[in-house]
Amino acid sequence: MSVPLPIRPSPTVVNGGQGTMTCHEVSFRYFRQQPWVIERFSYSFAPGITLIKGASGCGKSTLLRLMAGYLVPAMGAIVTPSGRQPADPEFQRRDLGYVFQQLNLLPLASVTRNLTLAASLAGLPPETTAMRSAKWLRLLGIEEFASRLPQSLSGGQQQRAAISRALVKEPQVLLLDEPTSGLDDLNTRVIIRALQEYVNGARICVISSHDARLESLANEILDFNRFLPVERHLEALV
């Protein structure tokens, strides 16, 4: 049975400045009897793109889910740019865009309806939703599939549709969990271009990935492997 590897305290200084998303002494584990997956993790995510890379099971996805409020830290605090708690539904509706590793789209809703639903929850008026939907679907190259159901799309198209759904809100914080895993170079390039367009230096985008193709995109790279002595041991084995 694999045991999640713990994230040790980050050497990065926590500045907690305005417009940043700050994790302060965050610890998390899935079950009480198990070791910490993330232990006393502190970091301040500045506007721009931060890439978290690291071995499988090192806690990258868990950290994103904690930042999104989908999991609640056992200790520590996460401060969002708007000051809302991550678990606050208002933060999730208006300030957050999240792309999961897989199974991202509502299966019975067309791509457009998926976007509209997320946008309406964020409180966007229909005209803005229509305008932004058209923009992001075009930028991600899935305009022509807008009326199709997810099951009729390829994996790459589904992932681009999921990203456009996260972007249609134009949220302050965008979290992407392995957005390009299993995608070809073309799909990846389209996604990179869209993310650059979205972030534009003013918004926070955190990507969890071990896809080296995304490194060029990142303003900052957070290597979780640095905190994992076990991983070094694995490297030695290789």
């Binding site: 899935y30 996805s61 999991l71 208006r94 999961f100 199974l103 509502l106 299966p107 019975l108 929850l121």
Partner: protein
């Protein structure tokens, strides 16, 4: 608001698709609820009809009526034909009015061979029947079935007489269990000498002592007569009132039992299915929650689905029973007037409507596991 409509429409589509793909899921819920509601409706309506039939008997008899029946045999010293027997209830004259008639031991038959009981009245009771008399004949045939004001030939032993048909009303209503021929005392002396039942109908004055006391007083009067061979039969509304109270008690017990069974069965069946479907649907629910869709909204989806199916099944069961009402309860032996909806629709009674409350309580209880399931963090479901 717009987001609520969009989410509701998506969830409805999702529910509909699930029903279509797994028809056993809604059908089993409909079947179980329908069957239980059907049984509950039969029991509750049967109680309702029983209560109505007792009330009708009570109304017919009268709350203030006491009937005393005393057998007078051919060898009794009280056997007189042309004079009245002594009035043993004279002491109670201040407490009410009396009507005395005699029911002969012989029976009569109409020209259609229908049996009738035969009663005679003396001069003291004459004024009670003046309004019913016809110029053609002194005989009166009280009948619920025969058309009123018709002349009918009735045979009693070897005699035949004409009688005018009348609807039974007023004083005589407590006595009517079948068609009844009433003739003046002494019409057929030979038949009267065979014996009769001296029948006194006592109507208590509204301000008199209670019926129970009067019954007790009457029983005491008759007990004081040491020459009597057997005590008379004193009949009042009291046993019917007791019967009604007992029935109501049983009705409440059954209602509680049915409420428990129906509520428990619905909550268990619906709850199990809701949990299975919630698990099947965990991904969509978590995805909606990840956008910030309110948790209550997702709970309402299950609650509404369960309530919709439960109400549909229960209403259909009640409607089916209402449609088959006469056939089913007629077979069970209820009289036609009791089955009639003119005295109130038993399917719109509070008891039957309470079935809807029980199934809704069951539906609500069945959705509680969903409420607990929705507390699972989104991050524990979605990867």
């Amino acid at each position: 608001m717009r987001s609520s409509i969009l989410i509701a429409s998506y969830l409805w589509k999702d529910t509909w698709k699930r029903w279509f793909e797994q028809p056993g899921s809604p059908l089993s819920r409909l079947f179980v609820t329908g069957l239980l509601a059907l049984v509950a409706t039969v029991i509750l309506v049967a109680f309702h009809l029983l209560e109505r039939s007792i009330r009708e008997r009570l109304e017919r008899f009268g709350l203030n009526t006491i009937v005393v029946r005393e057998s007078v045999n051919s060898d009794s010293r009280d056997l007189t034909v042309f004079t009245d027997a002594p009035d043993r209830l004279a002491a109670l004259s201040d407490h009410g009015q009396k009507l005395r008639v005699r029911q002969l031991f012989v029976r009569g038959t109409t020209e259609w061979q229908d049996g009738v009981i035969v009663l005679t009245y003396g001069p003291e009771s004459f004024d009670h029947f003046i309004e019913f008399l016809s110029p053609e004949t002194p005989g009166i045939l009280f009948s619920e079935e025969l058309p009123p004001d018709a002349l009918v030939r009735v045979n009693v032993s070897r005699h035949a007489t004409l009688a005018v048909t009348r609807r039974p009303q007023g004083w005589l209503r407590p006595l009517i269990t079948e068609d009844m021929l009433l003739v003046p005392q002494g019409t057929w002396p030979d038949e009267e000498r065979l014996g009769f039942i001296e029948t006194t109908i006592f109507q208590r004055n509204p301000d008199a002592i209670p019926v129970a006391h009067l019954v007790s007083a009457m029983t005491t009067f008759y007990a004081m007569d040491r020459d009597r061979r057997s005590p008379p039969q004193v009949q009042s509304a009291l046993p019917m009132i007791r019967e009604l109270e007992k029935l109501k008690e049983r009705q409440v017990q059954w209602r509680n039992l049915l409420a428990a069974i129906l509520g428990l069965a619905v909550s268990l069946v619906y709850g199990s299915i809701a949990v299975l479907e919630f698990r099947q649907n965990l991904f969509v629910t978590a995805l909606l929650r990840s956008f910030g869709a309110p948790r209550q909204f997702l709970f309402w989806r299950h609650l509404i689905e369960n309530a919709l199916l439960a109400n549909l099944a229960a209403i259909s069961a009640v409607a089916l029973m209402a449609a088959l009402h006469t056939a089913i309860f007629g077979t069970l032996g209820f009289a036609k007037p009791v089955l009639d909806f003119s005295g109130g629709n038993p399917y719109a009674s509070a008891e039957v409507l309470s079935i809807l409350i029980w199934v809704n309580v069951g539906a609500l209880l069945s959705s509680i596991p969903i409420l607990i399931g929705l507390r699972t963090p989104v991050g524990a479901t979605l990867n």
